[in-house]
């Protein structure tokens, strides 16, 4: 019994051995044609088979087989890491979350992407390309992007006679005016994702960037113990203290917050684009159908800064048919495929001009604010030990929000911790 307890860990531990033997993989030429595999998270939209069969019908000799990984990001990363550590060619093309780029690049698990031969790069929103870079070199191709937006109750703001806020102070004033209305009584002002998980890293970074601070600077060094960062963190801490952010929001991930917004309990909500369609559903699940709109995130002295989400496609260093893999990525990154994917799955594309397409704008009214959000958005730290870095950020943010630590102290401790983790 006792033995069984450690077995699971031990079994996974065995994978580490393999690293010792193999030589370095050579970068450069992407050669080899033939069938390839595409490893991606569970396809919740159901549209992926159509995309892939479009490729397969044009390239019968280079058929793509989709390998569906778990729905959770951690589960996907684990399988990709395992296959890479064992130098298996089971996944030719990897669908990487933007925060994994550094880890996969530094371990040489993915090939460097020659920028000249990928035309889609020049059409992509520049911010999305930053998420695929490690130390100035490109290791993946942006396919989908994501940015936070401010969902607000249009009906209540109109009634109170206020404009959508561009700053945190305006947001607070707007909220007070709405709370003075009979409909707005007891309503929560604002919420984001504040449970201790990746979402907190996103929201914490946005607060800090929105006040002009950084978590990790352009030079790749942590620089979070600054007055700007403190102002950003204090916005969140004070909003919790004053009750502007409801107490329960400390337990909110995306879905808990979405329920609160859809139940009409929140005036402002920081959320990803996916909420738009769900909150507009007329099956009775949402009480705010037609009553809300989106705006770019507010900041300290002007518009705020979103944290970048999204997925990039990379070529495994252990793939046999790398030329086919590169072509498949080009295919999926093309305007036609990205447009089709946006329409079917409503995932934000990396292709910039799609946001300005009037037909698409009619279908997705949030495209304009979303583009503004993504264009200004900042990536999360591109560090090899991302798991440790994000855990440290969450620890600091959570301690400050739950008043276990003073904001200043939390940032000083975070700076120390990040300095020891980021040594590149």
């Amino acid at each position: 019994m006792a033995v069984a307890s450690s077995l699971v860990l031990l079994a996974s531990a065995c994978g580490g051995d393999e690293e010792a033997g193999g030589g370095a993989t050579t970068g450069g030429a992407l050669e080899g044609r033939g069938p390839i595999t595409f490893a991606t998270g569970k396809d919740t939209s159901g549209f992926l088979p159509a995309q892939v069969s479009a490729w397969n019908s044009q390239h019968p000799e280079e058929k793509v087989t989709v390998v569906e990984l778990p729905e959770s990001a951690d589960g996907q990363r684990q399988q990709m890491v395992q296959a890479s550590q064992n130098k298996q060619d089971s996944f030719s093309v990897l669908n990487l979350d933007v925060v994994w780029t550094a880890e996969f690049a530094a371990n040489r698990w993915v090939e460097e992407i020659p920028r000249d031969s990928f035309p889609s790069l020049s059409a992509a929103i520049p911010a999305t390309i930053k998420t695929a870079e490690y130390r100035g070199k490109l290791y993946a191709v942006p396919i989908t992007s994501d940015g936070g937006m401010l969902y607000y109750r249009k009906d209540l703001l109109t009634k109170a006679g206020v404009q959508p806020p561009a700053t945190w102070a305006e947001m607070a004033t707007a909220c007070q005016k709405v709370q003075a209305l009979p409909e707005g009584k007891g309503m929560g002002c604002y919420a984001g994702q504040f449970e201790k998980y990746e979402g907190l890293t996103v929201n914490f970074s946005e607060a800090i960037n929105g006040a002009g601070g950084v978590v990790v600077g352009e030079d790749g060094k942590p620089n979070v113990d600054t007055p700007e960062a403190l102002a950003g963190l204090e916005f969140l801490v004070n909003a919790f203290k004053s009750g502007a952010i409801p107490k329960a929001a400390i337990t909110y991930k995306e879905e808990e917050g979405r329920r609160a917004f859809q139940d009409g309990k929140l005036l402002f909500h920081r959320q990803w684009p996916y909420q738009y369609a769900l909150a507009s559903k007329t099956d009775g699940s949402s009480k705010v159908v037609g009553k809300f709109a989106v705006a770019p995130l507010p900041g300290l002295n002007g518009p705020g800064v979103s944290t970048l989400g999204g997925h990039n496609y990379a070529i495994s260093a252990f793939a046999k048919n790398k030329a086919s893999a590169a072509d498949f990525i080009k295919f999926m990154a093309s305007e036609e495929r990205q447009s089709a994917n946006l329409q079917a799955s409503s995932q934000a594309p990396a292709w910039a001009s799609l946001y300005d397409d009037t037909a698409l704008q009619a279908k997705f009214p949030y495209l304009t604010p979303l583009k503004a959000s993504i264009e200004k958005a900042q990536p999360r730290p591109a560090v090899v030990k991302y798991g440790d870095v994000t855990a440290a950020i969450q620890e600091a943010a959570y301690d400050a929000l739950t008043e276990k630590k003073q904001p200043k102290q939390a940032l000083t401790d975070l700076q120390t911790k990040l300095s020891s983790l980021i040594t590149q």
């Binding site: 019994m1 006792a2 033995v3 307890s5 450690s6 077995l7 860990l9 031990l10 079994a11 996974s12 531990a13 065995c14 994978g15 580490g16 051995d17 690293e19 010792a20 193999g22 370095a24 951690d74 684990q78 890491v81 550590q85 690049a105 530094a106 371990n107 040489r108 490690y134 130390r135 449970e195 201790k196 998980y197 107490k247 329960a248 400390i250 337990t251 909110y252 808990e256 329920r259 609160a260 090899v384 030990k385 798991g387 440790d388 855990a391 969450q394 620890e395 739950t402 276990k404 040594t423 590149q424």
Partner: protein, 350 residues
């Protein structure tokens, strides 16, 4: 496995030439036993021994770091001796380790005590003959049949800010935040899920107690409480101790419930398994193996102490039988000693 070997080795010294037939007969038995047992031993070696040794070896290595010049990770693991172990017990990680150690121990003690009381109560109810007994038995066992992760998700739903738990108590407790509330939520969910396990094993024990004993007690004028204390408890003790032992070993490696219900990196509910997972998740398999080994030793020590102090019949049975075998020579039927163990494993599998 070790039992037949000394017997076979002693024979030739005691009576060298005379009883050749007996010796041959003995040797044959030993060989046959060895052959018959070898598949089991092979499987055990593969699934138990090899991973343990592999993990011990792994725990002495560390993965390569990032080369500051190129930005690439240096390939290959480096041998670091006991560094991974000393790292656990020094600096910040030591605080985290001891906190997790305390949480693990606290969960084990609290949950097992609660589950034992509830489990015995459940068993007594299930044992009574009444109408609809089958339904009650089945319904009590439902929580045990639900996978831990699923039950953790169910309880997460109950314990969310606007969930059923808060609706019932009439105020807003944020169960997944740091503090007593997250600890309580884990204990409640774990007790709910695994009290039926103890109930089931105790029920099996209760059913072996003959009715005549109770009848005799009634004739002697024993009260219900006296019957419970003097008859039920002592007679059900072997089954109960095994159930408690299993639950203790299980709870010492508690992982999925706090991980899913409350979440990772929460000091209030972080357990030793979660530390090992965290290291492995960040692809530091050496330190992860070190944590797993420390946990393994802790579990082994607790199990050993429990068996020694309370005399649970898990390996005690086999230990007692060994000397007996020697006295009686080869006449003791093989498998008697193992019967207890076999029964136990079957019980544990339910």
């Amino acid at each position: 496995m070790s039992a037949p070997t000394p017997v076979a080795a002693e024979r030739p010294v005691n009576q060298p030439p005379t009883s050749e037939k007996v010796r041959r007969h003995d040797e044959g038995t030993g060989k046959l036993a060895a052959i018959l047992l070898s598949p089991t031993m092979l499987v055990l070696g593969l699934v138990v021994l090899f991973p343990i040794i592999s993990a011990l070896r792994e725990s002495l290595y560390q993965p390569g770091g990032v080369d500051p010049e190129t930005g690439f990770v240096t390939e290959g693991d480096t041998f670091v001796g006991l560094d991974n172990y000393t790292a656990i017990f020094t600096g910040d990680t030591a605080d985290r380790f001891w906190n997790a150690f305390y949480n693990t121990t606290f969960f084990t003690v609290t949950c097992v005590v609660l589950e034992t009381i509830l489990g015995v109560a459940m068993a007594l109810v299930m044992h009574k003959a009444f109408r609809g007994r089958a339904v009650v038995r089945a319904s009590i066992l439902v929580p045990w049949a639900i996978p831990t992760v699923v039950s953790a998700l169910l309880w997460k739903w109950i314990f969310q800010a606007d969930g059923a738990a808060n609706a019932i108590i009439g105020r807003q407790v944020l169960w997944s935040t740091e503090g007593w509330q997250s600890v309580a939520s884990v204990i409640i969910a774990d007790t709910w899920k695994t009290a039926p396990f103890i109930g089931l094993l105790v029920l099996a024990g209760l059913q072996t107690i003959p009715n005549e004993v109770y009848e005799a007690a009634k004739v002697d004028g024993a009260s219900v409480f006296q019957q419970f204390r003097m008859i039920t408890l002592p007679l059900v003790k072997p089954a109960l101790l095994v159930a408690v032992l299993f639950r203790m070993l299980d709870t010492l490696r508690i992982f999925d419930l706090p991980f899913v219900l409350v979440g990772p990196h929460k000091d209030s509910v972080e357990t030793l398994s979660m530390l090992a997972y965290d290291e492995a998740f960040n692809t530091r398999y050496g330190p992860a193996a070190a944590y797993a080994t420390v946990l393994f030793i802790y579990v082994a020590v607790v199990a050993f102490a429990f068996v020694k102090l309370l005399g649970a019949d898990v390996i005690g049975d086999a230990a007692v039988r060994k000397p007996k075998k020697k006295k009686k020579g080869d006449s003791a039927p093989p498998g008697v000693g193992a019967a207890g163990l076999g029964g136990l494993t079957a019980g544990g599998g339910v």
